[in-house]
């Protein structure tokens, strides 16, 4: 790709000062994410994958290095509403309907009623929750709630979607189903997606680029460009190509752990 990367990090470091001394959550992280990429961040806990995502979202400030989002600082990008962020828990407001929850960011951003109505209809359809607008969160299953939370992140048409272990709390079968839907959604919207996970099959199945990270200090140990086609039925997970990539991810994770053993 010839265009500017959507997200570009150069020698990015983030050190938390704690009572037990400094913790190097990120150290010298350099990575480019291009438009339309689906990038997964995988690694054991403490490897800085979530921290990296939070730095992109301006929820954490790096202590050294540079990062740009859409060519500007994360803070400017956040204020320009450049990204939607999906947390591990759906975090829907119990006192708002599904539609009301999706409207929430739009109300905050001052969208008109007509714009809100149109957006709610559009994103509910994208996550296959049409007809659930008037339901309350407690009337939905965990998987459906998480889909509603993705719809909410999509509602204001940001080009970037950042997802922090969005399916971590869901069971395997629901997770498979949602993975398929996320791929479909990505194909239809052509968004740039950053996706944190600790599931190898999930990372390989979803991504065009897999970033393997390891802890103490949090750093990137491998970046794998996926050779899988864009069209991915669930059965692709049994193909030799898929197993090959999963193998490389596993090797990368193991290499990061060697100095621990």
């Amino acid at each position: 790709m010839t265009s500017e990367p959507v997200i570009s990090a150069k020698n990015l470091s983030l050190t938390f000062e704690t009572n037990d001394g400094p913790v190097h959550a990120l150290k010298d992280v350099t990575l480019d994410i291009n438009k339309g990429d689906f990038v997964s961040f995988i690694g054991p806990s403490g490897c800085g994958k979530t921290t990296f995502l939070r730095v992109m979202a301006d929820l954490e400030k790096p202590t050294a290095g540079e990062i740009t989002v859409n060519g500007v600082s994360p803070e400017e990008a956040r204020k320009a509403r450049a990204y939607g962020y999906v947390f591990q828990h759906a975090g829907l407001y119990p006192w708002r309907t599904i539609g009301g929850n999706i409207r929430l960011p739009l109300e905050i951003m001052g969208a008109s009623k007509a714009e809100q109505d149109a957006a709610v209809k559009e994103v509910l359809e994208l996550v296959h929750l049409d007809g659930f607008e008037k339901k309350f969160p407690w009337q939905l299953s965990g998987g459906m709630q998480q889909r509603a939370s993705i719809a909410r992140a999509l509602a204001f048409h940001a080009d970037i979607l950042l997802m922090d272990e969005p399916f971590g709390a869901l069971d395997e079968i629901v997770r498979d189903h949602l993975n398929e839907q996320v791929l479909e959604l990505w194909a239809r919207t052509n968004k740039t997606i950053g996706f944190v996970t600790h599931s190898i099959p999930e990372a390989v199945y979803l991504s065009t680029k897999i970033v393997v990270m390891s802890p103490r200090p949090g750093r990137i140990t491998d970046v794998i460009e996926s050779t899988l086609p864009k069209e991915r039925p669930l059965e692709i997970r049994d193909s030799p190509e898929f197993i090959e990539i999963a193998h490389r991810v596993r090797d990368g994770l193991r290499a990061g752990h060697e100095d621990d053993a």
């Binding site: 979202a57 301006d58 929820l59 956040r78 204020k79 509403r81 990204y83 939607g84 962020y85 947390f87 591990q88 828990h89 975090g91 407001y93 119990p94 006192w95 929430l104 960011p105 109300e107 905050i108 951003m109 309350f136 969160p137 407690w138 204001f156």
Partner: protein, 295 residues
């Protein structure tokens, strides 16, 4: 039917136990006076005569429940039937006086409590400085400060309802501050981060997240505040010369040893408090149900 008993059974049992204890207490405490009377008249009382006497004295140490019940009926229902529902001898009149300052004080206390809580949550200086004063304010005995409030407000020309309401406010703002500070701080990190990703202003965060999240805490506080407010109103009526209100009935009763009048005022106050707290409980259930916070 079984379901109804399941709900009412424990309540009925406790009520029966209270009545049994109350009657037993009345007999035990009033027996000495009955015996004295009998001795002076050189009469020997049988047990049943003794029990009957303990329950029909004019100024018993502990009036029996039915005596209190009769007194309450005489000063409420019977007055209504005579068309004098709000004469000065009617408990309804006195309850109304106490109720009005309770409600005014409650409203003022709730407003003050919420305002202080918002200040504490949003202003670092207030967070560090206000709470100790709020707590200190509640360690001062209300009986000591109530006359001062009445005197000071009278000196600046404020009398009547407002000084009593101020005393109610003084007691009722406290649970609201404590509950609302906790309630406004109840949204977790994730919810606050989420607001930040949308670049929400402080105001939007308050109205759309913090305030709705605090509702369960608010209603719990309001129940305590309402009960405290009623106590404040009654206490506030004592130093005003006991002209009107349930507090006045209590004080008047104690001047003249009218224990039945004292107890009927007490029971009325308790019933009033129960009704007010129950009303807030009802509102709580309705609001929280609508908000999807109880199921």
């Amino acid at each position: 039917m079984a379901g109804l008993w399941h709900r009412l059974g424990p309540i009925v049992t406790v009520v029966i136990a209270i009545f049994v204890l109350w009657y037993a207490g009345a007999v035990a405490l009033n027996a000495a006076w009955a015996q004295d009377k009998a001795k002076r008249n050189n009469i020997e009382l049988s047990f049943s005569e003794l029990v009957a006497d303990t329950m029909s004295q004019k100024k018993p140490k502990l009036p029996a429940p039915h005596q209190v019940g009769q007194e309450i009926w005489k000063t409420t229902g019977a007055m209504v039937l005579k068309g004098k529902a709000f004469s000065k001898r009617s408990l309804l009149y006195h309850s109304g006086v106490t109720l009005s300052s309770t409600l005014l004080g409650f409203a003022m206390g709730t407003a003050l409590g919420i305002a202080l809580a918002v200040g504490i949550v949003y202003n670092r200086t207030m967070d560090m400085s206000v709470m100790p004063w709020v707590i200190a304010s509640q360690t001062i005995p209300i009986l000591a400060i109530a006359p001062m409030i009445i005197v000071v407000l009278n000196a600046v020309g404020i009398s009547g309802l407002l000084p009593k309401a101020v005393i109610s406010m003084y007691l009722s703002f406290f649970p609201v501050v404590v509950g609302m500070v906790k309630g406004l701080r109840s949204p977790d990190h994730m919810q606050l981060d989420q607001m930040k990703t949308w670049s929400a202003t402080d105001g939007q965060e308050f109205w759309k997240l913090r305030l709705p999240s605090s509702m369960p805490y608010l209603f719990t506080s309001l129940k305590i505040a309402m009960a405290a407010s009623l106590v404040g109103a009654i206490v506030g009526e004592l130093p005003t010369g006991a002209i009107a209100g349930l507090g006045a009935r209590l004080l008047g009763g104690s001047y003249y040893g009218q224990t039945i009048q004292i107890w009927s005022a007490l029971i009325t106050a308790a019933a009033l408090a129960a009704a007010l707290v129950g009303l807030i409980g009802l509102m709580q259930t309705m609001v929280l149900k609508r908000m999807g916070m109880v199921r």
